[in-house]
Symmetry: C2
Subunit: 186 residues, 2 copies
């Protein structure tokens, strides 16, 4: 048995935090198959698929308006770099996938920004990547938003609204600071 | 039943031709699980995986030097374009994947050029994409090269050698012209 002193340094693991919101989530039916707060390991060679068909998708949304496969996430390493990233691909013929300002049609894909808002149908998902080193697997951690992630543009805001309308309390309530990408950091 | 006149215009299907070569292929053991010449349909949402593990890979190379998953191919549609493309990703931790002049490490990926040579270990694969319109699926057609795809650089060539050392007879023997990408075509 390898002693604590001799053991290999444990690698940090990339974790993708996804905070879901749906206007009708109070009955929580569409989210009843998602494991909130529990970190899940996904092998690096696996596509993380989100959709209605539980035979194909690891993450199931129980909603007839959701496509069999709604979108998929691919873990990859940038060429000539050690940077590990995700790519998101719209797998739905019926529904556009909006990543921040970019609208993806069926089979379109883009790199997932470190922090972004993903929308499809009435669903809103805040995605935040927590960097890691392991190339064997990554982790996902799903959260449920208590308030809409996108602010209603038509409502007059009487108070200063945080960026994207997301309260930082959302994450700190799970003992996690919001991830800040500081370009001055090495 | 829909009559011939009323039926929807049939879509053309993207076909990826892959011509394999291995210096020890005469015993054909490594290629014995590949279906040469037979076109295979692959769903657009499926990753076409090549490797040793038949539980994961659709295309099996029976060779202990080949990784469980050696590489995968993803079908996708370019953003703001109707162009359908493939992306190739190295899934092997042990072996580099070389696509023309680009060396891919584990989890690196790039767009597959319309005509290119893919190398890993002693394997050489000529890949050629025949354009199509269908977004539901694509096809693959595997061929076996009779001569090495890459010419040996150290050998003096006494005769003019065709580009990439591939004889066009390779393809015409299957009743198929080599695919020419003519940029003047609409």
């Amino acid at each position: 048995m390898i002693s604590f002193e001799e053991a290999e340094t444990e690698e940090t693991v990339t974790c993708l935090h996804m905070t879901f919101y749906h206007p009708c989530q109070d009955d929580k039916m569409m989210f009843r198959c998602l494991n909130f707060h529990k970190r899940e390991q996904v092998r690096a060679d696996e596509m993380a698929k989100f959709g209605r068909d539980s035979n194909i998708c690891r993450y199931n949304l129980m909603d007839t308006r959701v496509s069999r496969i709604q979108f998929s996430l691919q873990f990859y390493r940038k060429l000539n770099s050690s940077e590990l990233c995700f790519e998101i691909k719209n797998m739905s013929k019926k529904t556009k996938l909006i990543v921040d300002q970019t609208e993806l049609g069926y089979l379109n894909k883009i790199d997932l920004p470190w922090k972004c808002i993903i929308c499809f149908g009435d669903y809103q998902v805040l995605a935040e990547i927590q960097e890691g080193e392991s190339m064997d697997y990554f982790e996902t951690q799903l959260h449920l938003a208590e308030v809409p992630i996108l602010q209603e543009r038509r409502l007059p805001s009487l108070q200063p609204v945080p960026e994207n309308g997301i309260s930082s309390a959302l994450f700190s309530s799970q003992g996690k600071k919001p991830i800040e990408i500081d370009e001055n950091e090495s």
